[in-house]
């Protein structure tokens, strides 16, 4: 789960990281009031779960409260990568001497939290990792010991030669790790970490992703979820415990298992179609879940056909077939449905489906070819 910059900054502040003052505005008036309260120049920043805010015009430097108001009016309601901006962060503008990068994420290969720091801030760290790896210092945190003081200091020394700045940065690295762990994060980033002309080190941007699996024990973090910033279909899928990702094609996919679901999408493409979504309904034959899945898929007006691809393993195919038949009775569906069902009790299942008027297949390739054909019709 991604959280907004202003939310990540709250977590950072709680961990002691120096973050300039800033608050959220939902209207131009609020933005102006905040700019007046802070005094001096401010920055108005779109709060949206997307990269490239700056390029899209979602970040503006305001000289006066009136400017802040005007920029907020521009930014609120703006669409950035398909997401509507509903909130802006109004924060004081800082004098910037240098910009650096400090980030921590879970490294799959090292199987542990890993820091990356670079004195080149405000950049795409992955790009720097490729183009100029010497500009990055990496450190994997041994989960048995946590981040040790000398490790934080070692990272900080890569950023600043000045002892005073290095000392501040060392503290911030430790605090960032604290915020990362205490938030159950999978990624936390300060980009840029700035120095000011008067020798202070501060975080002026903040990014954090939370491990969804940590949310059950961190209700205060779970509350940070902003459903307004994701497609309604994805919200509904999450609430129904379905894995769903919206795409652009016409073939609505409903599959059991994530790997098979991806392979199904790929096969749609292979046969010349475009998948409308990724959707894993899991191992359940529960009609409720199938109903939710169908509602989500059909809420996408681009969908021209619905494709079920079910591999019955422990779950018996006839149970799943009954679930599908039951579910389709409960909701009106105007697009054709094709179904592939194989595995345990497959013959029984195919009969049930045919009796209910569905096209039933046992071969994955056959059903996908059919679905693509129907989508083009």
């Amino acid at each position: 789960m991604d959280i907004h910059e202003y939310q990540a900054k709250e977590r950072f502040r709680a961990a002691g990281i120096p973050v300039p003052p800033g608050e959220i505005a939902r209207t131009p008036d609020e933005a102006q009031a905040l700019a007046e309260k802070f005094g001096g120049m401010t920055v108005v920043k779109a709060q949206v779960h997307s990269g490239g805010r700056g390029k899209a015009g979602g970040v503006k430097l305001a000289k006066t409260p009136a400017d802040a108001r005007a920029y907020a009016a521009d930014i609120l309601g703006m669409e950035i990568n398909g997401l509507t901006v509903e909130k802006v962060l109004v924060t004081t503008a800082e004098d910037i001497d240098t910009e650096a990068y400090v980030g921590v994420l879970v490294d799959r290969k090292k199987q542990a939290a890993t820091f990356m720091v670079s004195p080149e801030g405000g950049i795409d760290i992955e790009e720097v990792a490729h183009s100029n790896p010497e500009a990055i210092r990496k450190l994997t945190v041994d989960p048995r010991y946590g981040l040790l003081p000398h490790q934080a200091y070692w990272l900080a020394n890569f950023l600043y030669e000045d002892p005073g700045l290095a000392k501040q940065a060392s503290k911030i690295v430790g605090q960032l790790y604290r915020a990362f762990v205490d938030s159950g994060a999978s990624m936390a980033e300060i980009n840029p970490l700035i120095t000011t002309p008067d020798g202070k080190v501060k975080a002026i941007d903040a990014k954090m992703s939370i491990d969804d699996n940590e949310l059950f024990r961190r209700p205060e973090v779970a509350e940070m979820r902003d459903s307004s910033s994701e497609p309604p279909a994805e919200t509904k899928a999450r609430e129904a415990s379905l894995s769903y990702v919206k795409l652009d094609g016409a073939v609505g996919c409903c599959v059991n298992g994530a790997g098979l679901a991806m392979a199904t999408m790929d096969l749609v493409k292979y046969y010349g179609g475009e998948p409308a979504n990724f959707l894993d309904i899991g191992g359940s034959s529960n009609p409720e879940k199938v109903v939710s899945a169908l509602e989500i898929i059909t809420s996408d007006p681009k969908v021209k056909v619905i494709l079920f691809n079910i591999f019955g393993g422990i779950t018996r195919c006839d149970d799943v077939a009954n679930g599908i038949v039951e579910a389709t009775k409960r909701i009106d569906i105007e697009v054709p449905i094709v179904i592939r069902l194989t595995g345990t009790n497959e013959e029984k299942a195919l009969e049930i489906l045919k009796d209910a008027g569905f096209s039933a297949y046992t071969s994955m390739d056959a059903v996908v070819e059919k679905a693509v054909e129907l989508a083009k019709a």
Partner: protein, 294 residues
């Protein structure tokens, strides 16, 4: 022969009294797996009733279960908040292999649990994996027994149902399996492709290997390099997720393309560059294996 589990596998089921645990324990017992014990804290002294009048004693702790039954393997069906703890308990108890089925375990919990397992030299499979099956010998986890068949092919996969798809097709043309291993869809897993490939390479009964990967991470690329350097047996590979968008999690916590790393394209290229035959569709796997075996 087979890898990781065979007829000598003596299994403890952690979370045996739960809904999933009890269901799959019966399935494993039916298949012939030696389920020697179950563990549910607070239910020690009770007995688990398996199929056809078989039973397994239930203990409060792994320590007791192993001491009393000589178990050498454990499988975990406990809920996510307790799964990492259950892994560490199993590691501490002296078993050789711990298979964690549970999905949704916090990743930082797993960083600690994997470190603990490494410190103790114990193999963990998973978490968030379907387990493994050595046809005709033993089944640990949730893989459907009816689709497998004894034979010479090793199968290793990050996915569940996609594995069934591949195994089903292999079995249908008479190509049975030594062992089918689901290594799991999480970002931090205890046993990776290379571990399995190495075991298959060393298993005299395995003649060829099917390796099913997906987007996210670079495990497949490292495995491909390992295959080229170390593997004498033919390997056929498939990657799911060619149409997955970057930055979105595709069901599995580990199936996400971050930046330029972990795309299906990159993985398939790496397979090709390292002498692994790449199946474009799941349906192509069987043909490629048949070609490889001549």
């Amino acid at each position: 022969m087979a890898i990781f589990i065979d007829r000598d596998t003596k299994l403890v089921v952690q979370g045996i009294t739960g809904r999933d645990g009890s269901f799959h324990t019966r399935q494993m017992m039916e298949y012939g797996t030696q389920v020697v014990a179950g563990v549910t804290p607070g239910k020690g002294g009770q007995t688990f009733d398996g199929p056809d009048g078989t039973t397994a004693p239930i203990f409060n702790t792994m320590d007791q279960a192993v001491a009393e039954t000589g178990a050498n393997t454990s499988v975990i069906y406990v809920p996510p908040p307790f799964a990492a703890g259950a892994i560490m308990e199993a590691v501490d108890s002296g078993v050789d292999l711990v298979v964690c089925i549970t999905e949704g375990v916090p990743v930082l919990d797993m960083a600690r649990a994997h470190a603990f397992a490494r410190d103790h030299g114990v193999r963990v499979l998973g978490p968030n994996c379907p387990g493994l099956i050595s046809p005709g010998k033993s089944k640990v986890g949730i893989l459907p027994a009816q689709i497998v068949k004894e034979g010479p092919i090793g199968v290793v996969s990050r996915s569940g149902t996609l594995t069934y798809e591949a195994v089903f097709q292999l079995s249908n043309v008479g190509l049975g399996q030594t062992t089918c291993v689901g290594i799991g869809g999480d970002p931090l897993i205890g046993t990776n492709f290379i571990d399995c490939l190495e075991a298959f390479e060393n298993d005299p009964d395995t003649t060829a290997v099917v390796m099913i990967g997906e987007i996210g991470g670079t495990d497949e690329q490292e495995a491909a390099a390992w295959v080229k350097a170390n593997m004498s047996k033919p390997v056929v590979g498939f990657i799911a997720g060619q149409t997955a968008p970057p930055g979105r999690r595709m069901g599995h916590a580990g199936a996400i393309i971050s930046g330029s790393a972990g795309t299906a394209e990159e993985k398939m290229k790496s397979f090709e560059d390292n002498g692994i035959s790449v199946a474009e569709r799941p349906a192509d796997i069987v043909g490629l294996i048949q070609d490889a075996l001549g």
